[in-house]
Amino acid sequence: MTPAQVLAQFLAGCCSAAFLVLVSLGVTLVFGIARVFNFAHGGMYVVGGYVTAFLTSKAEIGALPAVVAAMLAAGGVALIVYGLVFWKARPTTSGAGAIVGSYGALLLITELVRIVFGSVPLIARVPETLEGPLPVLGVSRMQACLLLIAGTCVAVTIWMINSTTLGRLIRAVSCDPWLASSCGVRRELVAVGVFVGGAGLASVAGAVSSGMSAISPSSGDDLIVGALAVALLGGRGNVLGACVVSFLLGQITAFGVVLAPRLASALPYAATVLIIAARPSGLLRAEATSGFERRT
């Protein structure tokens, strides 16, 4: 490999990592606070992608209003899913019911999207300024936009968790939900907020992705397992951990494609198994100890 090729693959790996981070950010937050794998996250991604793609390509609405509409739609769906699946199921069944319920919600959303939008894959129209490659580095403008959006989402999320009152409430509920509620924190409200916020992030991921990839009703199924793996491997609820894992997996994929083409699609799975074997609780420490499990 020439130095130029190494740089090109490295940048491609960064772009793949940005995509993975954006998809897994919301699910990492929900995993941190609710302690369950939220499969319905894949459904929010699809809703975000479809609303954006439909509004920009069929209704010819601008990209920004379309993304806002996508976030509102995914937030609405998230509220319904939370009410149906998580409100009662989580505390009573230690998460098992919520996992099955959220997976059911994902399948239901997939089929409803198919009924509403049909099975033809859709792709969003992106603003003219984002078409074409950047003059240097072989990166497309959309990829640069993806890097920027993913970076912003990560920075805002970390800042919000570490430096705001809302973040303190989230951390309190995440650390010890019973202690937090005995101190007057309305933990169910915090959980709903994180769930809807997570859905917003999923819809942004879907929206950005729909400008680069075809979105079809089943798109969420393909991504959700990878996103959940990132959330787990990074250390439960650890946003920085999710970024590190995404970066590693992105680079493994990017260099695997060139160095071992026939093995490339298996390498990220191999890395996942190795990380779990070496550090069962994740690369970085979990965001909080498990309050639920200690008490029940």
């Binding site: 020439t2 090109a8 491609a12 772009c15 793949s16 792709i123 072989g138 680069m212 075809a214 699609s265």
Partner: protein, 424 residues
């Protein structure tokens, strides 16, 4: 508590009503049938999940053929009736559904199947139960060569035929450095193997400078695009299909990959679905083909099929539709020559030598069944993407056609024998 239960029940009820009403809409489309005991055809298509578009298009086109035949008096005064089942593009599900169709529903024919692995399962049921199985879209060469059994017939082009056409096209070009990108499962590997093998027989062997094997349903092609650019090939051969192909073409053109790089994809690359999804974002000058084209050949028969499908569904068909349409016509034609459907072996003999005029046949050519492989022998046209807004939402279609004669696209008898003997 009570209100939350009510709310949940209401939501569930709404979903059920919605699903039920859609199901009703899609099944109540048949017209008045001629009297007489119907000929029963069991059709297996994915009607949910990822391949649902192909299944829905196939179902609509099969029902269209059935309605046309019944409207003109049926076959020998008896109507055709199709029982559609959702195989979810899953081999086990397809196997169960096929058995049920034959043993419980008493279907005389099986037809359809989009996924090659599901088709390999159904062909076993067909062999065990001695029921004729008419394949309408799956492309694996194994069904007509290695896993061949006498009750199987295929009415759409297979991978061997499309890759032979692609090899003839490529052998006429000044390309020497090839790069291949295809999905990492049997179909993707079969395309690349068949293409290279045909290029060898044409004495223009492929020099591969790189290969990329993204997993199926991959949304992100950044690493592959960087790798292709780094290897600087003369031509890029693409084996991706459906949403994967759409995503790859979109990201490739955003990265400026196709500016000086010819792209060739002649099995599924020219599917209308890709043109409809990408609209004016479809790059110009790509060299593509598919098992059927909405704008080639420009014959009355093809126009009638495409317009009839559009009138029925409100959209233009993907290539799977024409296979399903021909499948029903093929069964009807065999029944016209041998109306007793219980005489399976006589029907097999009729089907083995049948000639049938398909929408995809150019003027002066009639598709015919190859008796040694039970594969329909058909012409293939390869085109380049050009501006064309006659089939919205697509704004590009294929044009500047090169047509390859059907006889050039089938393997020799020795080749067929060699492959059958090489089976495990």
């Amino acid at each position: 508590m009570v209100s939350s239960h009510r709310c949940r029940a209401l939501c569930a009820l709404t979903c059920c009503v919605l699903l039920f009403s859609c199901e009703r809409r899609s099944t109540n489309s048949s017209t008045a049938m001629p009297a007489g005991k119907p000929y029963l055809i069991g059709a297996l298509y994915p009607l949910s999940g990822r391949a649902a578009l192909y299944g829905e298009d196939s179902k609509a086109a099969a029902q269209m053929a059935c309605d046309e035949i019944n409207a003109s008096g049926g076959v020998d005064g008896r109507p055709l009736q199709i029982l559609f089942r959702d195989d979810e593009a899953n081999a086990e599900k397809a196997r169960q559904q096929a058995r049920q169709l034959v043993q419980q529903d008493r279907a005389t024919f099986l037809m359809g199947v989009i996924s090659s692995s599901a088709a390999l399962a159904v062909t076993e049921v067909s062999k065990d139960t001695k029921t004729i199985f008419v394949g309408t879209d799956h492309a694996s060469g194994r069904l007509t060569y290695e896993a061949f059994q006498p009750y199987y017939f295929r009415v759409s082009n297979n991978v061997y035929q499309s890759m032979a056409a692609q090899a003839y096209y490529a052998s006429e070009q000044p390309w020497s450095r090839y790069y291949y990108i295809g999905p990492d499962y049997e179909y993707g590997h079969a395309l690349w193997d068949e293409f290279r093998s045909k290029m060898n027989t044409l004495r223009t062997p492929v020099s591969s400078v790189g290969e990329s094997w993204p997993k199926l349903f991959e949304p992100d092609y950044a690493a592959h695009i960087a790798s292709i650019r780094g290897k600087n090939p003369d031509v890029l051969i693409v084996g991706l299909w459906g949403a994967d192909l759409i995503s790859f073409l979109r990201q490739g053109s955003q990265a400026g990959l196709f500016q000086n790089l010819p792209v060739v994809s002649c099995d599924a690359g020219g599917n209308y679905e890709t043109f409809a999804a990408l609209g004016e974002q479809m790059p110009l000058g790509l060299i593509l083909s598919a098992r059927h084209h909405n704008n080639w050949p420009e014959t009355d028969r093809n126009r009638a099929f495409v317009d009839g499908f559009h009138k029925r569904t409100g959209r233009y068909p993907s290539y799977a539709a024409e296979g399903a349409y021909v499948g029903v016509q093929f069964i009807a034609e065999a029944l016209r020559q041998q109306p007793d459907e219980t005489q399976t072996d006589a029907l097999v003999r009729v089907m083995s030598t049948i000639r049938i005029q398909c929408p995809e046949d150019p003027e002066g050519f009639v598709s015919y069944m190859d008796p040694s492989t039970h594969q329909l022998v058909q012409t293939q046209a390869i085109g380049r993407t050009v501006p064309n807004s006659k089939y919205p939402p697509a704004t590009r279609m294929l044009g500047e056609w090169k047509v390859y004669d059907a006889e050039r696209l089938i393997p020799s008898l020795e080749e067929v024998e060699r492959r059958r003997n090489a089976k495990p």
